[in-house]
C-alpha cells in the first residue's frame, strides 16, 4: 500500500509531468490529444477489474460489473476514436504537401 507522503509525492510529480508533457501542443492537436488522454485514463479498467474481483455480495458484483463494463468502453472506444482521428490527421497532412 502506498501511503502518506509517498502518495503525495507521486501525486505532485505526476501532476507536474502531465502539465509539462503537453505544454507545447499546437491547436490542431487539441481534440486528438483530449481523446488520447481520455484513452489513458481508461486504465481505470484495471481498478474496476480488481473491484469486481474481490466482490462478495450480489450488490458488489452488480456495481463491479457495471464498473468493468463502463471502463472497457472507455478503453476500447477511446483507442479507436483516437486512432481514427490521428489516422486522418496523418493522411491529410501528407495529402496537403
Amino acid at each position: 500500500m502506498i501511503e502518506g507522503f509517498v502518495a503525495l509525492y507521486i501525486f505532485m510529480l505526476a501532476a507536474f509531468t502531465g502539465y509539462e508533457v503537453i505544454s507545447k501542443v499546437p491547436v490542431i492537436l487539441h481534440t486528438p490529444l483530449m481523446s488520447g488522454s481520455n484513452f489513458i485514463h481508461g486504465i481505470v479498467l484495471v481498478g474496476a477489474m480488481v473491484a469486481l474481483g474481490h466482490a462478495h455480495t450480489g450488490l458488489e458484483q452488480l456495481v463491479g460489473f457495471v464498473g468493468v463494463l463502463l471502463a472497457a468502453g472507455n478503453v476500447v472506444g477511446g483507442f479507436i476514436v483516437t486512432e481514427r482521428m490521428l489516422d486522418m490527421f496523418k493522411a491529410s497532412g501528407k495529402g496537403g504537401k
Partner: protein
C-alpha cells in the same frame, strides 16, 4: 507474480507518459497512441492474474463485462462519422468517470474499515467521477442532438450551488463516520452527485461543449487517480493524475483558442449580463 504485475504497471506508466508526450506533437502523434495502447494492453493483461481477484463467478462476470462494454464501444467507435467525434469522446469519457465512481461504490458498500485518509479520498473520487459521468452524458446528448437548446431558469446558479453543497455535506459525513454511515446516505450521495453533473451541464451551450468535455476529461483523470490511491494501484494513480493535470492545461488552452475563459463557459448565465 506480484513482482511481474508491479513491473508491468511500471512499464505501463512510462508508456502512457511517453505516448502522451508524442501525441502532443504532429510528428509522433500516431506513434503516441500506439505506445499508450501497448501500455494499456500490458497493464490489463497482467491484472487478470492479480492475487486480489478471486472466484470463478467474478472472472466470468469480468469477461462478460469486458466483452459487452468493449464490443459496444468498438462497434460505435468504428461507425461514427468524423464530425461526430467530440460527442463520442464525451461518451467514452463519461464511461471512465462512471467506472471510477463504481470502484468507489464497491469499496464503500463493502463496509470494511479503511484508514481515514483513504476513505476521504474514496469519497472525493466518487463525487468527481460521478459528476463527470452524468455531465459527460449530458454533453454527449447535447452534441448528438438528443437534447436541444439550453435549459435556464432563475436562480439556477444558486440551485446548483445548493445541490453541490448538500452533496459535499453528505460526502463529508460518509468520509468521517468510519463504517457507521447508512446505506441510504450513500445512495443519496451518489444520486445527488449525478444530479449535480446534469444541472451543471444543462445551461452550457453547444459551442462551448468541447471545452466542457475537456474539463470532464481532466476530472475523470483526477477521479481515476484518487481511486488508484484507494486500491493502492500506482499505475492508476500516475496515469490518472497525469491526465488530470494535462487535461486541466488542455482545457485552458482550448478555452483560450476559442477566446473564452473557463469561468465564462461554466457560469456564462451568471447575472445574465456578461457578454460571451
Amino acid at each position: 507474480m506480484n513482482f511481474v504485475i508491479q513491473a508491468a504497471y511500471f512499464v505501463a506508466a512510462i508508456l502512457f507518459i511517453v505516448g502522451l508526450k508524442q501525441m502532443s506533437s504532429p510528428v509522433g502523434a500516431r506513434r503516441g497512441i500506439l505506445w499508450a495502447g501497448a501500455g494499456m494492453l500490458v497493464a490489463v493483461l497482467v491484472t487478470f492474474f492479480s492475487p486480489d481477484i478471486h472466484g470463478v463467478g467474478n472472472y466470468l462476470l469480468m469477461f462478460l463485462a469486458i466483452g459487452i462494454g468493449g464490443g459496444l464501444a468498438w462497434w460505435s467507435g468504428k461507425r461514427v462519422a468524423m464530425t461526430d467525434m467530440p460527442q463520442m469522446i464525451a461518451l467514452y469519457n463519461g464511461m471512465g468517470g462512471g467506472a471510477a465512481a463504481a470502484i468507489a461504490a464497491v469499496e464503500l458498500i463493502r463496509y470494511e474499515p479503511m484508514s481515514a485518509d483513504v476513505q476521504a479520498i474514496a469519497v472525493v473520487g466518487a463525487l468527481i467521477g460521478t459528476m463527470a459521468f452524468s455531465g459527460s452524458l449530458i454533453a454527449f446528448a447535447k452534441l448528438q442532438g438528443l437534447l436541444k437548446g439550453t435549459v435556464r431558469y432563475p436562480q439556477q446558479q444558486m440551485v446548483n450551488l445548493a445541490v453541490f453543497g448538500i452533496t459535499v455535506l453528505f460526502g463529508a459525513i460518509i468520509a468521517l463516520s468510519g463504517t457507521d454511515y447508512a446505506g441510504i446516505l450513500l445512495f443519496l450521495f451518489f444520486a445527488l452527485a449525478l444530479a449535480f453533473g446534469v444541472l451543471m451541464t444543462l445551461p452550457i451551450g453547444g459551442a462551448d461543449m468541447p471545452v466542457v468535455i475537456s474539463l470532464y476529461n481532466a476530472l475523470t483523470g483526477l477521479a481515476v487517480g484518487f481511486e488508484g490511491f484507494v486500491l493502492g494501484n500506482p499505475a492508476m494513480m500516475i496515469a490518472g493524475i497525469v491526465v488530470g493535470a494535462a487535461g486541466s492545461l488542455l482545457t485552458q488552452l482550448m478555452a483560450k483558442a476559442m477566446n473564452r475563459s473557463i469561468r465564462n463557459v461554466l457560469f456564462s448565465n451568471f447575472g445574465g449580463g456578461s457578454a460571451g
